[in-house]
């Protein structure tokens, strides 16, 4: 246990003991190597299960809608941005939250580690991070990688190493970002012809199985009934055809425009590896470029979808 973990556990315990919160949402060790799992508890003794490590991947703000009462929530910067966005949308009330902020230096993407080492995660013995270096041990052999090579793309693009909103902060901010590297996939797509891009997406979405994990883990997707499940009218088919899969996802991405904080969860959880962040990040860029808006930075800011400037974007209007 690190000092920071200890401080977090003590604070979580104290909050529960003093009745300042009814629930704590944080991360506990997972049941497989290099995984963590959301810990949602009312029990002060569970606080000692809380962990902080480079594998705390989940965006826990997705659980806020589920749980009634005062909540103490552990939040990385991108999760904190999602919380801010939920505050703007009045999905949660600030006074019901105690945000236990964690500065973040980027999380380790197991798929990247697997690709670089050629080993399955089960066969890797250890992955440790030390500043800018990540050491992977497999069968007694160690390999060193630059952190930039193995952290998630969305972490490479991260602009907020410290949460924009918190009550308590645990740890020191540091970051190993590389914006160009973080949008490598997008750059490749931009260099293609429209026909090539369409063919690319057609192929990617032909794998989709419609498990809706992308939607379920998305804190910005808080509708009680999703358009894709509407039957009267049936907007798009619930059958997993590439055409409808593609339109479902692009529509979903547009629906969360200005609320998506590039936490990258949709891409991480996709069981068939569709590069969804190549869409969500692009939408984020479009929103920023056209309307100079970044999601989840300021809880008092007007929401992207309701804000306007009378003279903006007039060039596209006839």
């Amino acid at each position: 246990m690190t000092d920071t973990e200890k401080k977090l556990q003590d604070k979580a315990k104290e909050l529960l003991e003093q009745g300042k919160v009814e629930h704590i949402i944080g991360y506990a060790a997972g049941s497989l190597k290099f995984t963590t799992t959301p810990l949602i508890t009312k029990d002060k003794d569970d606080a000692r299960q809380l962990v902080i490590n480079p594998f705390i991947v989940n965006n826990l703000s997705v659980f806020l809608n589920d749980i009634k009462g005062k909540i103490g929530i552990v939040a990385k910067p991108c999760d904190a941005r999602s919380i801010v966005s939920l505050l703007q949308d009045q999905q949660v009330a600030r006074e019901n939250l105690v945000i236990l902020g964690l500065p973040c230096q980027g999380l380790i993407d197991l798929r990247k580690v697997e690709r670089l080492t050629g080993k399955d995660r089960d066969d890797i013995d250890d992955i440790t991070r030390n500043g800018d270096k990540v050491t992977v041990t497999t069968g007694g052999k160690t390999q060193k990688f630059a952190a930039k090579e193995v952290i998630f793309d969305d972490c490479l693009s991260c602009e907020t190493p410290t949460p924009p909103e918190y009550d308590f902060l645990f740890g020191e901010p540091s970051s190993a970002t590389d914006k160009e590297l973080g949008r490598k996939n997008i750059k490749e797509l931009e260099a293609m012809s429209p026909q090539q891009r369409w063919d690319f997406w057609k192929q990617e979405f032909s794998r989709c199985i419609r498990c809706y994990a992308c939607r379920q883990v998305c804190p910005a997707c808080f509708c009680t009934r999703c358009f894709i499940e509407e039957t009267e009218p049936q907007w798009l088919s619930p059958l997993p055809r590439w055409q409808d899969n593609l339109l479902f996802q692009t529509t979903r991405m547009l629906h969360v425009a200005g609320r998506c904080t590039d936490c990258g969860e949709c891409e991480r959880v996709c069981p068939v590896n569709i590069p969804l962040r190549s869409i969500s990040k692009k939408v984020e860029e479009i929103v920023d470029e056209l309307f100079q808006y970044k999601a989840g930075m300021d809880k008092n800011a007007e929401r992207f979808m309701t804000a306007y400037e009378p003279s903006e974007a007039e060039d596209l209007m006839r």
Binding site: L189, E190, P194, Q195, Q196, R197, W198, D199, F200, W201, F227, W235, L236, Q243, D244, L246, L247, T250, T251, M253, L254, H255, A257, I279, K282, V283, I286, V287, L290, F291, F304, M305, T306, A307, Y308, P310, S311, E312, A313, E314, L316, M317, R318
Partner: protein, 151 residues
């Protein structure tokens, strides 16, 4: 090829009932001539527009979508048209990124008194979409490539 040259685009228009819909009516009663390629859906405000409508229209095989609402400052509900404009702007840009011709989504401000403008907008949009070609985005069998070669 002969089939292709006879092709006429099918357009779907989403028109605000307070302005553009009345504008289109005026174009009709004033006997303005404009292409018969457009089918109109009346919506309560251009702010009702959802990227989903565009997705659905393209999926159904429409070659283009036109959204039309009140001029800035004239929205019956104060800000609906501004919100629509943001949505349309990002939708167009994302369409382009996905590989869909952004010209298939068009937007205009047409007031209830602008029958002339309505006729002109539909004429221009029809011409524009005709240049882009038929919507074969969702064909499974690669027809789109042939079409692209022909246009």
């Amino acid at each position: 090829m002969s089939q292709e040259s006879k092709w006429e685009p099918k357009l779907l228009g989403f028109l605000c009932k307070w302005c553009s819909y009345a504008g289109a009516d005026l174009a009709g009663t004033s006997r303005k001539k404009y292409p018969a390629n457009i089918r109109i859906v009346k919506i309560p405000c251009s702010g009702r527009i959802d990227p989903l409508f565009v997705a659905k229209a393209l999926r159904m095989g429409f070659d283009g979508v036109l959204v039309s609402g009140c001029h800035p400052g004239d929205c019956h509900y104060q800000t609906g048209n501004y919100r629509a404009r943001r949505r349309i702007a990002i939708t167009k840009r994302l369409m382009e990124y996905m590989g869909i011709e952004p010209e298939r989504l068009q937007a205009s401000w047409v007031s209830a008194s602008e029958g002339d403008k309505w006729a002109q907008v539909v004429t221009e949009v029809t011409k524009g979409v005709k240049e882009v070609g038929p919507n074969r985005l969702f064909d499974d069998d690669g027809h789109r490539k042939e079409a692209a070669g022909q246009s």
